[in-house]
Symmetry: C2
Subunit: 450 residues, 2 copies
């Protein structure tokens, strides 16, 4: 899906080394769109275009390239050439970028960065993935509470170009401990009384997060309180960074994507579908397919165990897919409902008893409904009206097994601190397939005799 609209013009300008034209190309559009138009160029061409913009603009356009493309560019250039641009990036983007770059190159690039940027890098890259520390940026507006509105705006004007966001200003004491928050909006509405001190304006109770906090919890806080940014503190309550709305939007999209892949038993992709090589994609799918295949083998072995009964009551065989899929579908529904309620914080592992009671009740309602349908069909196939009862009784039992197992497994995973999303559809379905066969054959033997 590359945009090749400007490609001929760009190449012509490159051939003529047309500085004015290339500079205009870099400045005319939103950096995101400029980046889009450049993706069809080669690595060398991209850099030759970017050279014509100033460092700040270079870093803005660069930030919108796809990650693998960024890494390629960095690795192909001389570190000295790119260090200045990298120094211009925001601290969190810089860590993301360099996480993919060859280690030796990173060491050289880091040695070329100003001391402060180098320190930020070391601080940020030390935080484990998925925590607030790993997605925060250290460039945060911090002011003392003794400043007046006028002084604060002056100070902010000075700091503004180094900051990622100026929409909240955090008030800290001499030890950098978080004391309060003032929004730019409040400052702007207080311009009429510009001698007021920040201490009068500030909100002393600041919604914040810990540097070690899980990014999903941070997301919940920002969504619940409608925040544009949230300050991050360490365990001494020192302000160490902020997480802004765009970082968290990336997290939401990423997590939703990962959950969707998990629910279909695919290892999450790093690139887009078409950009992922077939061999990588086969691997990301194959691993789980093999595991599920082995799971299905157990179901087949269980069925093989009842070969004799199946020979005797051959009319039972065609109902095998019905029994299996009904159990699997019910289990999927329960597992998904519980996983989502756990993620949203509507449930905890301690609600186990209430949940299972609800699910058994729901299994009874849904199972009875499907049983009636099932009996109608079995009646026409079975040797007698009594024999036909095997199907509805099995359906009822399998549906109840589906709701019970489907809801319990995610709760169990949660209570032993594993991600409940691992117990998602294909796995729950696999387990219930096995149970379904055992239930089916047991009911048959019980009703029809051995």
């Amino acid at each position: 899906m590359m945009n090749v609209l400007y490609l001929p013009e760009l190449r012509e300008m490159l051939a003529e080394n047309d500085h004015q034209g290339l500079l205009e190309f870099c400045t005319a559009l939103h950096p995101a769109r400029t980046a889009e138009f450049m993706e069809a160029l080669t690595i060398d061409e991209v850099w030759n275009v970017l050279r014509h913009a100033d460092t700040q603009l270079q870093s803005e356009i660069f930030a919108y390239f796809e990650h693998p493309f960024q890494v390629e560019i960095i690795e192909s250039r001389d570190p000295a050439e790119v260090a200045e641009m990298i120094a211009c990036m925001s601290a969190d983007d810089r860590v993301d970028l360099l996480s993919g770059v060859d280690e030796e190159a990173v060491t050289v690039i880091l040695s070329l960065l100003p001391l402060e940027e180098r320190r930020d890098f070391q601080r940020l890259s030390g935080h484990p993935e998925g925590t607030a520390g790993a997605i925060m940026t250290t460039e945060v507006a911090r002011l003392s509470e003794d400043l007046t509105v006028r002084q604060a705006l002056e100070e902010l004007t000075r700091q503004a170009e180094h900051l990622e966001t100026v929409y909240y200003i955090y008030i800290v004491d001499e030890n950098d401990r978080l004391h309060g928050v003032v929004s730019t909006r409040q400052l702007v509405s207080s311009l009429g009384k510009s001698d007021r001190k920040l201490s009068e304006l500030m909100e002393p109770e600041v919604i914040h997060c810990q540097v070690t906090e899980d990014q999903e919890e941070v997301l919940r806080k920002m969504a619940d309180y409608d925040l544009l940014a949230i300050p991050v503190v360490d365990d001494t309550l020192q302000l160490v960074g902020i997480i802004t709305h765009d970082d968290i939007l990336d997290v939401v999209l990423e997590e939703a994507e990962e959950d969707a892949y998990r629910a279909a038993a695919v290892e999450p992709l790093e690139d887009s579908y078409l950009q992922t090589p077939i061999i990588t994609l086969s691997w990301k799918r194959g691993v789980w397919l093999i595991i599920l295949f082995i799971g299905a083998l157990f179901t087949s072995m269980a069925l093989g165990h009842f070969q004799e009964e199946l020979n005797k009551f051959a009319w039972l065989v065609p109902f095998i897919p019905l029994v299996i899929s009904t159990g699997g579908n019910t289990g999927n529904q329960s597992a998904t409902l519980i996983i989502m309620a756990l993620n949203k914080g509507d449930l905890t592992a301690r609600d186990w008893f209430m949940v299972v009671r609800r699910e058994i009740l729901m299994g009874l309602i849904l199972g009875s409904l499907l049983s009636i349908l099932g009996y109608g069909i079995a009646f026409t196939e079975a040797p007698s009206a009594f024999a036909a009862l095997v199907v509805p009784i099995t359906v009822l039992a399998v549906v109840i097994a589906g709701t019970t197992v489907g809801s319990s497994l995610p709760l169990l995973f949660k209570s032993i601190n594993l991600d409940p999303a691992l117990m998602s559809n294909p796995f729950v379905a696999g387990i219930i397939d096995f149970l379904g066969i055992v239930i089916y054959m047991s009911v048959a033997i019980l009703l029809l005799g051995d």
Copy 2:
């Protein structure tokens, strides 16, 4: 999960009609937290607490209640009592709130609102759900390009309390047509040169969306360009509203949730899991279970059609669950990958040929892998090494059918303008179950004779 921490104190203050205490309770915490502490109160008590706050604060706290709770409060009070608070809400929140309220009550409440709010309501509620128009707010900062930075900040100070966000200021001509955008950040950094005109500062190319645009496209734009807010224009390019970051975060979370429910064949819930009555939940699950059950009946009928062959080659029966689940799992994987790539804009329906070629190739790789495993097992169960070939050949064919059908169906749905997410896991699995049985039996007849 109600918070009952302050319940006794609150009830005591209510009994004593302690105005000072209740006012302090309303002002001391973030409105979101205040709302949380009030959820355990009865409707009457809630209103008796809120009465002590001013209208602005009332509306802020109220905004954080769950939607059904809000509706209950509004419907239980005299319209005159609540109209003032409702007038204070932001235009988009007001539409959301009243969408759940009894129509007669809405008519009375609307008649009590100021003319401008009433007009906003009519304008916003006219947009179909899922479009930019339905999630935008009409309260947007708009200024003329002739203003200086100083004048702009003064004007903004005047407007600020009526606006939902002041972080972008849109520049419009006399006909309200969008000409450019200036960020508060730019204004703040230009305070030193406060005689500059907005026309010099503004960015004339504004990323915007149409009022009829799908909310998912709006989300993509905001995420791609890292926007805090996006202006909404009608077809004459008149600025009619904005969509802010918190509206779009709600949309993302909502869509991710809906997709997850769909993938498990549950009609999306409006309330949390525990708050949804069992009978509603049974209905939301039952509808799809019955549809899938009827689908599975076709698979069973197909199998019933081959009763004779199954009697003759009884060793084939235990492999039925294996064949079915392998096809279903592969199909799920393909469908999910394609649905996500379509949602993200990485693919269009026109890429059909390329996608199917990739998926067939992937089916060959994955199918061959699983075939080897399958042959190993079938070898021990089948009467001869040749007969055992039925299983691996079926597995290979079913996996290729899974990748082809799983990837084609969402593309087909997309090309006839249906939501590809409808072709999600359980449906794809159901279709491939049927195909799997037909393939299995055909291969058996072909190899083993009739």
